[in-house]
Each structure stands twice: as structure tokens, then as C-alpha cells.
């Protein structure tokens, strides 16, 4: 058991090193994680609160990224906000993928009426633009927290995983080894978990990255519109405040540019990892690029 695990970990490690896309993506994501973990050791995160420093100061030795009009140290805001964004994305991604994978497994394995209900629900939900629902929900929720937001977004990020997993299970169900398992008298639960599950894990992992990235995108969209958590400094809310106080035309570039750069690093990192995973799942894409 441990030997298999070690062998697999070693294989995964060497695959990562051979795939520059995956390596670069992971390095970008790890750097953001480190920023959030090690940042508080070097910077006073209390200065991320409003009116804790002199407002609207350009970058200086004391405040490397300057301060905003609300009297927040931008560097401290970034260090506090980045892990919040990651946490929101991961939480929504996990819930979305677990929900989606379970529904996909049920629909694909059992078929029939169960499949019809789940598939119709999936297709219906896919038609509804998530931002529209999110806005109506967010407008009705009195106080928004990072967890609230993650749950709301997660409830709208299970559809793509459900669809891809269902399609895969549909073809796996007819594989000879599944028939063998059934003939050998295994019950449905054991077949699903022991025979089918291991074969959809790479796909589930790929959809996890996709769902996380989509969740962060939706979350940032909500925040930029001012519907995010009001009390926690997050990257999207920082852009919202900067917009609200016309930071752009006042030339306060150090207020809105750092969160945008962090977000670009985050999205590019997720994009590279998910592209590398797609290539792993679908080797035909590896031919070019």
C-alpha cells in the first residue's frame, strides 16, 4: 500500500518536472500560498484594517505598496486578502466537485429515471447564468462572509463536474471488468467505489481545478460589484473600494494594481495547471503546443 503510494508520488513528481506548464502553474500557486503563510511574519496585518495608517500615501520604505484612501496598508491587505480568496475558491471547489461527482456517478451508473432527473437538472442549471443568481442571492443576504459566499457559489459549480463524470461513467459501466465484478457478486456500492471510482479520479481532479478557478472567478466578480464580504479585506473588495473612490483617475495606481496582479498570477497558475491536467486526461491535446 505504502509502496504503491510512493511509486505513484514519484511518478507524479517526475511527470510534473517533465511538464513545464504544470510546474510553472504549481510554482505560481505555491508562491501565492507562501505570501499568505509567511507574509504575516514580516508585515503587521493589523494595518489591513481601515483607518490604521495615513491614507492615500504612495509606496515608500514604510509602506512598500502605499496606503489606500480608507487608511489601509495595501501590502497588508494583499497578505490578508490572498488566502481569503484561495480559501473561498477551494471551499467552493471541493463542495462543487464532491456534489458533482456524486451526482455524475449516480446518473451514469444507475441510468434510467435517476439519470433523467439528474441530467435534466444539470442541463437546466447550466443554462442559467451563475452571476444572475449570485447577484439576486447576494443582494438578499444581509451580511456576507467568505464562507457564505463559498457555499452560495458552490451550489452553482457542480454542473460541469456532474456532466463530465456522468459521461465517463456511462462508458466505464460497460467495461468488461465491471461486468466481471458484477458477475463475481460485488454489490453496487463496491463496484462504484472499487472499480469505477479509481478510474474517474484524474477526471475529478481536473474538474476540481476547473471548478475552483470558476468559483474564484465568480467570487471576484461578485466582490468587484460590491457584493462580497464587507468586513474581511479580500482582493475583489479592494478593487471595488478603489473603483468606488475613483482611485484610477486620482492616480492611486498602487491601490488597485497589486490586487489585480495577484489575481492574474492566481488565474494564470490555475489555467496552466488545468491545461496540463486536460492534456493528461486527453493525450491527443499533447501533440501540439
Amino acid at each position: 500500500m505504502i509502496e504503491t503510494f510512493l511509486r505513484r508520488a514519484k511518478a507524479a513528481g517526475s511527470y510534473t518536472l517533465r511538464t513545464p506548464k504544470l510546474l510553472l502553474g504549481l510554482v505560481l500557486l505555491a508562491s501565492l500560498l507562501l505570501l499568505g503563510l509567511l507574509g504575516p511574519a514580516f508585515v503587521d496585518v493589523e494595518k489591513a484594517r481601515p483607518i490604521s495608517v495615513k491614507p492615500s500615501q504612495p509606496p515608500s520604505a514604510e509602506y512598500p505598496l502605499g496606503t489606500d484612501s480608507g487608511g489601509r496598508d495595501v501590502l497588508a491587505v494583499i497578505i490578508v486578502g490572498t488566502p481569503q480568496t484561495l480559501r473561498m475558491g477551494l471551499l467552493a471547489g471541493v463542495v462543487g466537485v464532491v456534489l458533482g461527482t456524486s451526482l455524475g456517478l449516480l446518473a451514469g451508473y444507475y441510468g434510467g429515471r435517476i439519470d433523467m432527473v439528474i441530467s435534466t437538472a444539470t442541463d437546466t442549471m447550466l443554462t442559467i447564468p451563475p452571476l444572475a443568481i449570485l447577484l439576486v442571492v447576494a443582494a438578499s443576504v444581509r451580511t456576507m462572509s467568505v464562507e457564505n459566499m463559498a457555499i452560495i457559489i458552490a451550489l452553482l459549480s457542480w454542473m460541469f463536474p456532474a456532466r463530465t463524470i456522468r459521461a465517463q461513467v456511462l462508458s466505464l459501466r460497460e467495461q468488461p471488468y465491471v461486468h466481471m465484478a458484477r458477475l463475481a457478486g460485488l454489490n453496487d456500492i463496491r463496484i462504484i467505489f472499487e472499480e469505477i471510482m479509481p478510474n474517474i479520479l484524474p477526471l475529478a481532479a481536473a474538474s476540481f481545478v476547473g471548478a475552483t478557478s470558476g468559483a474564484i472567478l465568480a467570487g471576484i466578480g461578485l466582490e468587484v460589484l460590491g457584493m462580497g464580504p464587507q468586513r474581511t479585506p479580500t482582493l475583489g473588495m479592494t478593487i471595488y473600494w478603489a473603483q468606488l473612490y475613483s482611485a484610477l483617475i486620482r492616480g492611486l495606481w498602487w491601490w488597485w494594481l497589486p490586487p489585480i496582479i495577484v489575481l492574474i498570477i492566481l488565474f494564470v497558475g490555475l489555467f496552466l495547471v488545468s491545461a496540463a491536467m486536460d492534456e493528461f486526461v486527453n493525450p491527443r491535446l499533447r501533440k501540439t503546443g
Binding site: 442559467i128 447577484l135 439576486v136 466578480g221 478593487i239 492574474i264 501540439t288 503546443g289
Partner: protein, 330 residues
């Protein structure tokens, strides 16, 4: 069940579901609208309690139909919504929500439809070239740049573009759809003004979405290039250009067209953030302002409209697709 019938039923389910969510979600929220009005009256020094208050409450409840049972309220809401009677704006009272929507729509459609079509054309062509073995090597060199850009949300890139071109270099306007003070009318100078204002938002959409189309096109193109009829076309001695356009690209474009139709349908909902960044007076800007002023009828109306446009375009695609591609068997 017949495919078309099934598809139509699904469309109506989506529309009714969207309307129902619009009805339920605000009612789940704590507090009630009449209480909010009373609160406001008290803040202005109205006396509390007494018969007068009960009378006011009763009058308001009757006025908005809140004295009726919930299922009656729901039915009335549903019929009104399906007749596209979306109620009145609260912030700009007697204005109707649908009137505001139709005034904002041309700006959104103009800006986003044009930039979506442009990025579709560029992206599909480059994506096809990327998969083509005989394409110039330069193509593959600058495409990773677009791929990376496609991961960046367009409104974030938009902010950077506004700062560079409008604030620092002062080449283009900061935002809006036309210069303030001009009256919208059909003449050349106004048209040029609109185009000048459209360049930056269109550019931010174009730069971030070309990669998406290129990626999709490359994927289908790789599949098409492996088909037997391409080998046959080559064996027949057809020119590379002919094989590329008439055999490979034409077949690979089919799934792209589906995505294009859906992308055009999501134009309205995709517009929200870009219009906020550029102060562009379209649907997204309308929604943003409605949210900020808690104009719930407007928010509900706009979101219902967004769902409707997506549902209609997905329906159209699904109905037309079997006609376009007879190989698809439902």
C-alpha cells in the same frame, strides 16, 4: 419523447424556474418591505403606533397585493413576468423596468456582439493554424501569450488598459459610451465618438477571449486532422490551402459555431463587469446601479432578462444544430 418537444419543455422549465427564484429569494430574506417604508417614515418624525399606522400598513399591503395568500401573489407575479411586465423601478419611480432595459440593450448588444464576433473570427483562424502542421512557426510562438491572457478576467485587464491609454497617455476616453454633452443621433461625428469610446472595452474583451476560441478550435482541428478524408484529400494532391480551408477548418468550425451562438446569448450577462469598469450605459451598468441603490424590482427584472437571453440562445442552438450537422443523432 420527441427531441424538439423535450427541448421546448426544458426551455419553459428554465424560464419558470428563473421567475420562481426571483419570487422566492427576496422573500426568504429577513425584514419586510412595508416595515422598511414605516421605518423610513418614523425616521422623518412620524408618530408611532395608533390606528393611523395600521391603516397605512393595510393600504400598502393592498396596494402591492401583499394581503393576498402567497400562492395568489406567486401566480400574479408569474403571469406578469411571462407577459414581460417587470414592474416599476423603485429608484426612478414611475419608470418601468422593461423600458429601462430596452433603452440599455442597444449599447450592450452593439459593444459586446461586435467584439465577440471579432474575437471569434481571429481566435478560430489562429486556433486552426496552431493545429496545422505546415503553419509558420511564428504562430505557435505568440499564441501562448493569448492563451495566458484568456485566463485573465477581462474587466481586470480593462482596468489596466484604461489606466494606460486613458489616464497616463490620454489617447482615449476614460469611460462612457459617448462624450458627455453630446446628444445621441445618427450622424458621422457622433458615430466616430461612439467608436472611440468603444475601443478600450472592446479591446479588453478581444484580448482575453481570442485565446478561448483558439483553444477550442485547436482541439477540434486536431481531431479533424486525424480523419481519413483528410488523408484522402492529400493523396488526391489538393493544395494545402484548399485542404486547410475547405476540408479541415470547415468541419472543425461546426462545434465552434455552437459556442459562438451561446457566447452571443451570454453577451448580456457577460456585460455586467466590463460595463461597470467602463461606465458603459448598457444592461450591466443598469444592474450595477440597481444593486447599489437596492432597486430590487430592477435587479429582478434585469437578472430575469439575462436568464431569458441565455435560455433562448441555448434553445435556438439546440434546435438548429441537428439541421446543421446531420451526423448528430439524438
Amino acid at each position: 419523447m420527441n427531441y424538439f418537444v423535450r427541448r421546448l419543455i426544458m426551455f419553459f422549465v428554465v424560464v419558470i424556474l428563473a421567475a420562481t427564484l426571483n419570487f422566492i429569494i427576496p422573500r426568504l430574506a429577513p425584514g419586510d418591505p412595508i416595515g422598511a417604508v414605516l421605518e423610513e417614515l418614523r425616521a422623518r418624525g412620524a408618530s408611532t403606533g395608533g390606528d393611523a399606522e395600521d391603516e397605512i400598513v393595510a393600504a400598502y399591503r393592498a396596494r402591492f397585493g401583499l394581503d393576498q395568500p402567497v400562492y395568489m401573489q406567486y401566480l400574479r407575479f408569474l403571469t406578469n413576468t411571462l407577459r414581460f411586465d417587470l414592474g416599476h423601478s423603485i429608484s426612478y419611480y414611475p419608470q418601468k423596468v422593461e423600458a429601462a432595459l430596452f433603452r440599455a440593450l442597444p449599447w450592450t448588444v452593439g459593444l459586446l456582439a461586435i467584439s465577440t464576433l471579432m474575437s471569434f473570427a481571429f481566435g478560430s483562424f489562429f486556433g486552426a493554424l496552431m493545429a496545422w502542421p505546415r503553419a509558420p512557426a511564428a504562430v505557435n510562438r505568440f499564441l501562448p501569450f493569448f492563451m495566458v491572457l484568456s485566463a485573465v478576467p477581462y474587466y481586470l485587464l480593462g482596468l489596466i488598459l484604461v489606466y494606460l491609454f486613458a489616464f497616463v497617455l490620454r489617447l482615449l476616453p476614460l469611460g462612457g459610451a459617448y462624450s458627455s454633452g453630446t446628444i445621441p443621433r445618427l450622424e458621422l461625428s457622433f458615430l466616430l465618438d461612439v467608436i472611440r469610446h468603444g475601443i478600450l472595452p472592446a479591446l479588453s474583451i478581444l484580448l482575453t477571449s481570442v485565446g478561448f476560441w483558439a483553444l477550442g478550435m485547436r482541439g477540434t482541428m486536431v481531431t479533424v486532422l486525424g480523419e481519413d478524408y483528410l488523408t484522402l484529400a492529400e493523396a488526391k494532391g489538393l493544395s494545402g490551402r484548399r485542404i486547410f480551408f475547405a476540408y479541415a477548418m470547415r468541419n472543425a468550425l461546426l462545434p465552434q459555431v455552437t459556442s459562438l451562438a451561446i457566447a452571443l446569448g451570454t453577451v448580456a450577462s457577460g456585460s455586467v463587469l466590463v460595463e461597470v469598469v467602463f461606465n458603459y450605459p448598457g444592461i450591466g451598468w443598469l444592474l450595477y446601479n440597481a444593486l447599489r441603490s437596492s432597486d430590487y424590482y430592477m435587479v429582478q427584472g434585469v437578472t430575469f432578462f439575462l436568464v431569458l437571453t441565455v435560455a433562448v440562445s441555448v434553445l435556438v442552438v439546440d434546435l438548429i444544430y441537428p439541421l446543421l450537422d446531420p451526423r448528430i443523432e439524438r
